[in-house]
Amino acid sequence: MGFWLELAASGLITGGIYAVVAIGLNLQYGLMRIMNISHGEFLMLGAYLTWLAHTTLKINPIVLLPVVAIALFLLGVVVYRLCFRRIARAAPTVEVIEARSLLVGFGLMFLVQNTVNLIWGADLRGYSFMAEPVDIGGARFMANRLLVFGFAVAASLGLLALLRWTMIGKAVRAMMQSPTGAQLVGVDTGTLHPVVFGAGLALAGVAGGLLSMVYEISPSMGEPYTVTALIVITLGGLGSAIGSLLGGFLLGLVEAFGMHFTNPSLKMVLSYGVLVAVLVARPKGLFAR
């Protein structure tokens, strides 16, 4: 019993991180059609910021999470202003926005990843934080992983609540349903787009900060998360935040159980197999009506 609980929990913990990363990416895509392939790089930046502040200034990484979130939010607003606003204005069709933002994303990926490489080198970095085991219901967990899971779920649910019940959330949802309609009733694209882009990066940064408490970090840590996030948002449906949350957990569980029943070297085959199967059978996502 304890064993299955541990297996399910490890799937859910990974899934929680996937969900946070994917929701951010999905918001950017759903609202602005920006395929931000550099999303994982900002996760990596979040992880490095947390690591740097924790190891040099001895600040508790949990306290750092909001700081990282604000820093990446501001960075996101700047990146949006400098790169994506121009694309959105100049592009004649949505497909062109997707293609060009993908290219700019690649550019940003090279830029950010190698800047970090240049400053801190390619070595793995890390610190130990709350790495003691806790027993729950006959299963053992590392305290830091439970903490990461808690924060990941809290961040995701917090964002969903924000979308559901606040004015700005309403504006975002209206914008996703009908950009022209939303503009007609007075939603200001000029402020909403940078804010949502920044919020996406803030979520990525928080995910990075959380990951740095559990795993070692390196400049190339972001890419796999970008790819996983792409898988998750296709599972959950492009533009659906709650779909991303469920998709994240689902993928985490599929990976954990799949690896247990088959073998660890099949992990990637499984993830991509799920992606391809879903895209072929239900291209609008698992939860589309």
Partner: protein, 304 residues
């Protein structure tokens, strides 16, 4: 079309000039020329399908890797030239297969699924090799001479350019542009869009397959991570789009530009090079969205 014989003649003439390079250049410069040719062929064949239709395929690495594995598995029992042909056919067959399954998807979905399929192929090959052959990679012991490889890659490149010229002037090319403009309208006008897309996608995948098979002998050690490297696909897309995927010359010019830039900067400043590449890419997309080719088109129009 009137320009076709001229374009083909120019391609043949260019090919003849390029074929003399092994006698003129040092080994280092020849390797550089080889890398230019490879990326030119990849970018031209990518643009053949993706340019007119506005599809964004990231599956180039899958075709390339499959071709490379044809050589790795078959070089002992087949002559080199045959592996290149078989590699191309395997690439084309694989593209037809996945085309039938996923070409109804558009935009970001298509980009994501082609990327996913590439990774799926990569990890499946890794798994098959590990389980059934007990190897992580393969050693290629008997490689042909560098000049033979160069001429083979040149031949594939010329074939790719000639095919691109012919496709652009054919009914297939018009149908592809129609699909890119408005797929439903093309369908209404009697284009069997599904068939056209599968044929063109498969045709364009022959070249990365053949190139993978031809280039595999350059590396003595082949492993899935190096030949299915998604970076090959990304770089192809970047080169084609920076050059202008709607044009024929754009991808060729930008592949030379990129290969030279990569070769000269990468070795000396590995990180700074990629930072510059990233910046360049962002700036190019923002300020020259039609690609390098749009510079010349615009100038041409002003003269007219």
């Amino acid at each position: 079309m009137r320009g076709v014989p001229l374009a083909l003649a120019l391609t043949a003439a260019g090919g003849l000039v390029l074929a003399t390079l092994p006698w003129l250049l040092s080994d280092f410069l020849l390797a550089l020329a080889l890398s230019c040719l490879m990326f030119a062929a990849l970018a031209v064949s990518w643009s053949m399908f993706c340019g007119p239709t506005n599809y964004l395929s990231l599956a180039t690495s899958a075709f390339f890797g499959l071709g490379a594995y044809v050589t790795a598995w078959g070089l002992e029992s087949m002559p080199y030239g045959l592996t290149v042909l078989v590699g191309g056919l395997v690439g084309a067959a694989f593209a037809a297969l996945i085309g039938l399954a996923v070409l109804h998807l558009r935009g970001a979905y298509f980009a994501v699924i082609t990327f996913g399929l590439t990774e799926l192929t990569l990890h499946s090959v890794t798994y098959i090799e590990k389980t059934y052959s007990n190897t992580a990679g393969r050693i290629i012991s008997e490689a042909p001479e560098n000049t033979v490889i160069y001429w083979t890659v040149l031949a594939v490149t010329l074939l790719a350019v000639a095919t691109a010229i012919l496709v652009r002037a054919s009914r297939l090319g018009f149908a592809l542009s129609g699909i890119g403009g408005d797929e439903e309208r093309a369908q209404t006008l009697g284009v069997n869009t599904r068939r056209v897309k599968v044929i063109a996608f498969s045709l364009s995948a022959f070249f990365p397959g053949a190139l993978g098979a031809a280039m595999a002998v350059r590396w003595t050690y082949i492993e899935p991570l190096s030949v299915f490297n998604p970076f090959i696909g990304f770089q192809t897309v970047l080169i084609a789009m920076v050059g202008g995927a709607h044009t024929l010359l754009g991808p060729i010019v930008s592949s030379v530009f990129f290969s030279l830039l990569t070769e000269f900067l990468r070795l000396r400043f590995p990180y700074a090079f990629l930072i510059v590449l990233g910046l360049l890419l962002v700036v190019l997309v923002l300020y020259l969205p039609g690609g390098l080719a749009s510079l010349f088109v615009r100038r041409g129009r002003q003269h007219a």
